[in-house]
C-alpha cells in the first residue's frame, strides 16, 4: 500500500478538499467497500458536487442517514441529467488492480412523480511528468511538472435504470475493475435522475466504493 502521504500532514487543516479525502481513504481505510469521494451525505452542503443539465440544492432535514440530502431538479431526463463529483486518485506505488462501483440512495419527490435513477462511474486516465518520488504533496496536488494528456471520460460502471418511490431506495452499479497501469485516475461519479412533472429527485449517501 502506498505511503505517499500521512494523515498527520493534515492536522493543521480542518477541511480536506475532495481529492485529499478520497486519497486518504484510498491509503488508510481498512474498511470493505471504502468510499473514495467526499461529502457523500451532503452534510457540507454541495461542496464537491455539481449538477449537469439541472440544478442542485441541499435540503436540511429528511435525509437517509443524516439530516441533509440533495435535491436535483433535472432539466432533462435520466439519460442526460445528473449530479456529479470528480476526484483525482494518484496511484502512488500501488500495484494491484482495484474494483469500483457507484452506490446511492434516491427517492421520488412525490408519489405521483415517476422517478428514474441511474448511478455510474466514469474514469479518465492520468499521467504525470517528472520523477519526484512519492512525497507529501503527491496524490493531492502535484507541483512537480504535472501534465495531463488530452484524455476523455470512459464509462466503467453503470446501474440499470431504477424506478424509485418516495422511500429511500438503493441504486447500485456493478463492480468494475480498473487496472493500475497509469499514474492515476480522474473518477467521476454520476447520479442520473429525473422526476417527471414537478419536483426534484432526492439523493443521499452518493458514493464511489472501492474494494
Amino acid at each position: 500500500m502506498s505511503t505517499c502521504v500521512n494523515a498527520t500532514e493534515f492536522i493543521p487543516d480542518n477541511f480536506l478538499d475532495r481529492d485529499a479525502e478520497a486519497y486518504l481513504n484510498w491509503l488508510h481505510s481498512d474498511l470493505s467497500y471504502r468510499q473514495i469521494n467526499s461529502n457523500i451525505g451532503f452534510d457540507n452542503d454541495t461542496t464537491g458536487w455539481g449538477g449537469t443539465n439541472g440544478s442542485l440544492t441541499v435540503v436540511s432535514s429528511g435525509g437517509y442517514s443524516s439530516p441533509p440530502y440533495a435535491a436535483f431538479s433535472a432539466a432533462g431526463t435520466s439519460a442526460d441529467s445528473f449530479v456529479r463529483q470528480t476526484i483525482r486518485l494518484w496511484v502512488g506505488d500501488d500495484i494491484g488492480d482495484f474494483e469500483i462501483r457507484a452506490v446511492l440512495r434516491a427517492r421520488a419527490p412525490s408519489s405521483t412523480a415517476n422517478t428514474n435513477v441511474r448511478a455510474a462511474v466514469y474514469r479518465k486516465n492520468l499521467s504525470e511528468s517528472g520523477d519526484t518520488s512519492c512525497d507529501y504533496p503527491r496524490g493531492l496536488k502535484n507541483p512537480n511538472n504535472l501534465t495531463l494528456a488530452d484524455m476523455n471520460y470512459i464509462v466503467v460502471s453503470e446501474s440499470g435504470l431504477v424506478n424509485v418511490d418516495t422511500s429511500w431506495t438503493s441504486v447500485i452499479s456493478g463492480w468494475a475493475s480498473i487496472g493500475v497501469q497509469r499514474d492515476g485516475y480522474q473518477l467521476q461519479l454520476r447520479a442520473y435522475g429525473n422526476a417527471a412533472g414537478s419536483g426534484a429527485v432526492r439523493f443521499d449517501n452518493v458514493r464511489m466504493e472501492e474494494r
Partner: protein, 328 residues
C-alpha cells in the same frame, strides 16, 4: 556520486576551508559584513550528496508570492546541532510584528549570521495550497554590501549558482529587489517571458463541466446515447469509442465484450444535432484519434445506435466510415 558532483563537493569543502583560513577563524559565522555572495553561500549551504535535478531556480523564486522580512528568531526554539528537521519558530518581523513559521534547521546558521551582521533576512513562504501553511520554502539574505545568498541544505547549488548564471552580473541587485516587487509582477521583473495562452482547440476539448468553461457547454444540448457494438475490437482493451461534435469530445466506452450489451452515456450536440463516432486508443486520448466510425443525426433527442465493429480490424484499421446505425 558523479565526477561532477564529487568535484563540486570537493570545491565546496576547499572553499570552506580557505574561507575559514582567510577569516582567521574556524567558523563561517565569523565571515565579515562585506563577504561575497559566493563565499557566504558556500559557507552556509552544505550539500554533501549533491543537489540533483530540480525545478528551474528562476521559476522557483518567481513563484514566491509572500516574503517575510525577519528581525529576530526565538533562539529558545533553536534546533540542537545535527538535527535535520522543520520546526515551528516564532519570529519577530522587520515591521515589529510577530509570526510563527515552520523553519528547517539548516536555515538557522545563515539567518543568525545575517542578523548579527546587519543583513536583511527574507523568508520566502511556501505555497500554502501545496505545503503545510506557514512553511518557509527557502531563505534569501541580502547583506549590507548587497550580496545575495541562500542558506540551507544545498540551496547554494539549487538557487544562487543557477540564478547567477541566468541573471549574470546583475544577479545580486535583481534578487535583492525581488521581495519589493508587487505580487504578479515577479515574472516580468525577472525577465521571464509570459507564455502564450493556448487558443481553445476543439480537437482537444473535453465536453464535461469539470474540464471546459460553461460558455462552451451553454449553447449545446445534452442528450442520452445508448451505444451497442457487434463485438469487441481487437483484444477489447486497446480501443475506445467516443462521440464528438465540432465543439469537442463527449464521453467514451471501451470497445470490449461488455459493449455488446450496450452502454448509456451522455453527449452534447449543437443545433445541427449531428453526432460523430470515433475510434480512439485505450486512454481515449483525443489528441490522437484513430479514425471516424460514422455519424448520425440525433434530432436533438436521445438515441440508440449500433456500431458494426466488424468493419474495424484488430489493429484498429477502419475499413468504412459508415459503421454506425441508428436503432429504432
Amino acid at each position: 556520486m558523479s565526477n561532477l558532483k564529487r568535484s563540486r563537493v570537493l570545491t565546496t569543502l576547499t572553499v570552506l576551508a580557505l574561507s575559514a583560513l582567510m577569516a582567521g577563524c574556524s567558523s563561517p559565522g565569523a565571515l565579515p559584513n562585506n563577504a561575497g555572495a559566493k563565499e557566504l553561500g558556500q559557507a552556509f549551504s552544505v550539500c554533501p550528496g549533491g543537489a540533483g535535478e530540480g525545478a528551474s531556480a528562476l521559476e522557483t523564486v518567481a513563484a514566491t508570492t509572500e516574503w517575510v522580512a525577519v528581525a529576530a528568531l526565538n533562539t529558545d526554539q533553536r534546533p540542537a546541532e545535527g538535527e535535520d528537521r522543520t520546526t515551528d519558530v516564532t519570529v519577530r518581523t522587520a515591521d515589529g510584528g510577530e509570526a510563527k513559521v515552520r523553519l528547517h534547521s539548516s536555515f538557522w546558521p545563515g539567518i543568525e549570521w545575517a542578523l548579527a551582521h546587519n543583513a536583511t533576512v527574507w523568508l520566502a513562504m511556501a505555497d500554502p495550497e501545496l505545503w503545510i501553511p506557514n512553511t518557509v520554502d527557502y531563505v534569501m539574505i541580502v547583506t549590507e554590501a548587497r550580496q545575495v545568498f541562500f542558506p540551507g541544505d544545498c540551496l547554494d547549488e539549487v538557487l544562487r549558482v543557477p540564478l547567477r548564471e541566468v541573471l549574470g552580473t546583475e544577479a545580486n541587485a535583481v534578487l535583492a529587489g525581488l521581495p519589493e516587487v508587487a505580487p504578479g509582477e515577479a515574472r516580468a521583473y525577472l525577465g521571464i517571458e509570459k507564455p502564450a495562452e493556448p487558443e481553445p482547440d476543439p480537437d482537444h476539448t473535453i465536453l464535461n463541466p469539470d474540464d471546459v468553461d460553461a460558455s462552451v457547454l451553454d449553447p449545446l444540448t445534452p442528450l442520452g446515447v445508448n451505444i451497442t457494438t457487434t463485438g469487441a475490437i481487437g483484444d477489447g482493451i486497446t480501443f475506445t469509442i467516443c462521440t464528438r461534435i465540432p465543439a469537442g469530445w463527449n464521453d467514451c466506452i471501451m470497445a470490449d465484450e461488455r459493449a455488446t450489451e450496450g452502454w448509456n452515456i451522455s453527449a452534447y450536440v449543437d443545433n445541427t444535432g449531428e453526432l460523430e463516432f470515433w475510434l480512439l486508443d485505450a486512454d481515449a486520448n483525443v489528441s490522437k484519434p484513430l479514425g471516424k466510425l460514422g455519424q448520425v443525426s440525433t434530432g436533438g433527442k436521445g438515441i440508440r445506435v449500433l456500431v458494426d465493429t466488424s468493419g474495424v480490424t484488430a489493429d484498429g484499421t477502419i475499413r468504412s466510415q459508415d459503421l454506425v446505425q441508428l436503432v429504432e
